[in-house]
């Protein structure tokens, strides 16, 4: 019998439905992998094997009764620890929320459980989703299962969804949730040779997701291939009146619509993404992607996104500004950590609690956000960044008059050793240079594995689509997936 943990979402769901194996057997197999890898990879903050078994047993019982099974029936998944899960600690990888037990369930996770998925545990991440290497977590670094050829140095799994990417790549779960504010699904997917999609802003409800930058935050699936992402996104998405920015649209049947024939479609290549200093391996993989999409029938056209170089600085004003406002709620009064020094008053309690509870990167961003929103600087920084954001969005609209989907690298380099960039915030931020523009414009964007670099590390290609056109993104992703033939996986050392 095949190893059940080698199977993806579709194979597990179909196998459970057909009775080839039981959902319980699947949950047991993944629970074992989670437990065995925890010390080495640190992908989970909390494992919930009993939750995975409970959901699996419910699916097996429903099948035995002949009931209709959900889209994710029998599939155990990892849940990024940014989603509120009722009765299970939810921390955003911060000390300030350590021990916080939500009394309610986030909409996205509730949708997944309703579709028959089970929870293997809560996945580690960068603290409050602020980071690109999973080195800002209060609960320790996540170690990528990948290693450079001939080296044992620990590599970054990407961030902020680094627990998600490491766990999927290491076969600790067939799929995981991620969230993407400025690349936090796509960059870790690229670093670990997996697939991840951020849908159009508003597709997935933000209700119950610990807020970072509300105008940017979007949830999405991370899995081994395009089909698995399409299935899981269908289960996650949907209108939610509890989120005022939720899109009141029917969720398309993306899986049924998958079609890798690109005939009659134009693929845009943004010339501004050919930046100086980009790794030659990345440029080569981009050229491969162009050739694959041409082979699939697409017409390749050059497009221009003139304000690309301003996307990252605009993001590092807008996102911290929103974060400084969102994170004002952590004050030691209603939930989470309280640090009350002897004789301290209320204001001193707030300041002591936040000093003890937030990590350095979180503090940095709250401070930047506070500054750019402060009287006298609001117009020069925040409003100027929001105007640049309008221009970036207009760039995409103009480009999509000439093409249907855009192909670009996901990241400027492959994964880097842990510690390499952690002392230099700006060097770390540059990791998301190709990912941030689509976030600022709210567009659907996906990373698919494209091959390995000369060190044997995965590289990803990014597809960016028009608003609401996840199907176009998934289809182009599928065309690349079929031609890239990416079957590499990290050699097991953990």
């Amino acid at each position: 019998m095949t190893d059940l943990t080698d199977l993806g979402v579709k194979a597990i769901r179909d196998g459970v439905a057909a009775g080839t194996f039981s959902a319980r057997e699947v949950a047991e197999a993944f629970n074992a992998n989670v437990a065995a890898a925890q010390d080495a990879l640190n992908a989970f903050i909390v494992a919930t094997p009993e939750k995975a078994l409970e959901a699996a047993e419910a699916v097996d019982a429903a099948r035995a009764k002949g009931e209709t099974l959900g889209k994710m029936a029998g599939v155990p998944i990892g849940m990024k620890d940014l989603f509120a899960t009722q009765g299970v600690q939810t921390t955003a990888a911060s000390h300030i929320l350590e021990g916080f037990i939500p009394q309610y369930e986030s909409t996205v996770s509730a949708n997944l459980w309703k579709a028959g998925a089970g929870m293997l545990g809560k996945l580690n991440l960068d603290q409050f989703a602020m980071g690109s290497s999973n080195e800002t977590s209060y609960f320790g670094n996540v170690i990528s299962p990948w290693r450079k050829q001939g080296s044992n140095a620990g590599l970054a799994p990407g961030g902020s969804s680094g627990g998600s990417s490491a766990a999927v790549a290491a076969r600790l779960c067939p799929a995981a949730t991620g969230t993407d504010t400025g690349g936090s699904i796509r960059q870790p997917a690229a670093f670990t040779g997996i697939t991840g999609i951020k849908p159009t802003y508003g597709r997935c409800s933000r209700w119950g997701i610990v807020a970072f930058a509300s105008s940017l935050d979007q949830a999405g699936p991370m899995a081994r291939d395009v089909t698995d992402c399409a299935i899981m996104l269908e289960a996650m998405a949907g209108f939610d009146p509890k989120d005022s920015t939720s899109l009141n649209l029917t969720v398309p049947e993306w899986t049924d619509g998958l079609d890798a024939d690109m005939s009659g479609h134009r693929v845009g290549i943004p010339k501004e993404y050919r930046m100086e200093g980009t790794d030659p391996d990345i440029l080569e993989s981009w050229d491969n992607g162009i050739a694959w999409l041409r082979d699939a029938g697409a017409e390749i056209v050059e497009v221009s996104l003139p304000h690309t170089k301003y996307a990252l600085p605009a993001y590092y004003i807008v996102a911290p500004a929103e974060a400084s406002s969102n994170l004002a709620r952590y004050d030691g009064v209603r939930y989470g950590l309280r640090d009350l020094p002897e004789g301290a008053n209320l204001q001193e309690m707030y300041a002591a609690t936040r000093a003890a509870g937030f990590g350095d990167e979180v503090k940095r961003r709250i401070m930047i956000g506070t500054y750019v929103l402060s009287a006298g600087f609001y117009d020069a920084y925040y409003n100027q960044a929001q105007r640049v954001r309008t221009l970036i969005s207009q760039d995409f609209k103009a480009a999509f008059e000439h093409c249907d989907v855009i192909l670009a690298p996901t990241t400027p380099t492959a994964s880097f050793p842990l510690g390499d960039k952690s002392d230099d915030p700006l060097a770390m931020y540059l990791n998301d240079v190709f990912a941030v523009p689509a976030s600022l414009a709210g567009l659907p964007a996906m990373s698919v594995p494209a091959g390995l670099n000369k060190d044997g590390l995965p590289l990803g290609l990014q597809l960016i689509g028009k608003a609401f056109d996840e199907q176009g993104v998934l289809n182009a992703g599928l065309a690349i997936e079929q031609r890239a033939g990416f079957t590499a996986r990290p050699e097991k050392w953990w």
């Binding site: 037990i101 009394q103 309610y104 802003y201 508003g202 105008s215 009146p241 509890k242 005022s244 920015t245 899109l247 009141n248 304000h307 170089k309 301003y310 600085p313 605009a314 590092y316 004003i317 004050d331 009064v333 209603r334 939930y335 989470g336 950590l337 309280r338 009350l340 008053n345 209320l346 204001q347 001193e348 309690m349 300041a351 936040r354 000093a355 937030f358 350095d360 503090k363 940095r364 709250i366 401070m367 930047i368 506070t370 500054y371 402060s374 020069a380 920084y381 100027q384 929001q386 105007r387 640049v388 954001r389 309008t390 221009l391 915030p425 700006l426 600022l440 414009a441 709210g442 608003a467």
Partner: protein
């Protein structure tokens, strides 16, 4: 534009984050490094450009004006609201004395 230590201390106070001298010493150069980098946005001609307010066109919805329209966001759940409070007392959030 670069900011001095006093300004960073003021920002920390506005953000309600206690910072000792060592933390401020670390923060000042980092803060200035980031500000110097984002200042390139000043090069962009944005005259006549409206600041972004919504990335995807959407409209604000109104819900029915009834109590507990959605039980998940309605009232009557005091114990749940207080369940994670560091110091819940007598059905309220407890805080240090505010008024002498």
């Amino acid at each position: 534009m670069s900011v001095d230590r006093e300004t960073v201390a003021k920002i920390a106070s506005l953000a309600r984050i206690q910072m000792d001298d060592a933390a401020l010493d670390r923060m000042v150069p980092e803060f200035n490094g980031i500000l110097a980098w984002v200042e390139q946005l000043g090069e962009v001609d944005t005259s006549g450009v409206e600041p972004m307010t919504a990335v995807i066109p959407n409209h604000q919805r109104l819900r029915d004006d009834v109590v507990d329209a959605d039980p998940l966001t309605g009232g009557g759940i005091r114990d749940k609201v207080l369940a994670n409070a560091p110091a819940a007392e007598h059905g309220f959030f407890g805080v240090p004395k505010v008024i002498e």
